[in-house]
Symmetry: C2
Subunit: 126 residues, 2 copies
């Protein structure tokens, strides 16, 4: 059997850090359950578990900005996953930024540190 994180922890839902394999930039944090883990290994494309929609979530399903698996690491407690990815479309964030971490704390406020890569209104048409 393939080694895997300890899904008996965290109520079966473990945090996953997605990091750009080339730039080293942290792109986002989401969650995986056993099913999302298996689907990710099987397809080589990152699947999460959407906590808000309560369903398996192929990241980039709507936008086309999927994440191709480059490397999968686990932490010392086997309860956090780090996935190095190739981020298609150049942006992980649904708000159009390369990374979901596009704001930094400066002088007591959050300042936006980068330009949008795409316009969400154009990508997520209703």
């Amino acid at each position: 059997m393939t080694a895997q994180p300890d899904f008996s922890k965290g109520g079966g839902l473990l945090p996953v850090i997605a990091q750009d394999a080339d730039s080293g930039r942290v792109l986002m944090l989401a969650y995986m359950n056993q099913e999302a883990w298996e689907k990710t290994l099987e397809t080589g494309t990152v699947h999460y578990w959407s906590r808000s929609r309560r369903k398996l979530w192929l990241k980039g399903e709507t936008s086309g900005h999927v994440q191709k698996v480059v490397d999968i690491l686990v932490d010392c407690d086997l309860d956090t996953i780090l996935i190095k990815v190739h981020q298609l479309g150049g942006a992980a964030c649904h708000e159009g930024y390369q990374s979901c971490f596009f704001r930094r704390l400066k002088d007591g406020t959050f300042e936006i540190t980068e330009e949008k890569v795409f316009d969400p209104k154009e990508v997520y048409k209703s």
Copy 2:
């Protein structure tokens, strides 16, 4: 008032990714509550909330391997924190490795990818 993440989410406990400010390496994932957030801002040294010990946790309190804050970022949902740090002692993991993510999935098993920076038995003496 200083801008802050949304601690009304996650039962008041938000995941924090610590990333080495120089190498870009992801070091660990832990959690902060409001108190840990404030203590971190106040001291410039990273404090977490220990879920196992249920108390404020100055990372490196025992080992001396504290994390000095370089930059603090928040994600689009304001419920995940990314802190870029200077990792004193060169190692974040209590098992003696630079990063808690010292194992990668390869051919169905987790292989250790690096050498220990310190010997835990020497650092955590009882």
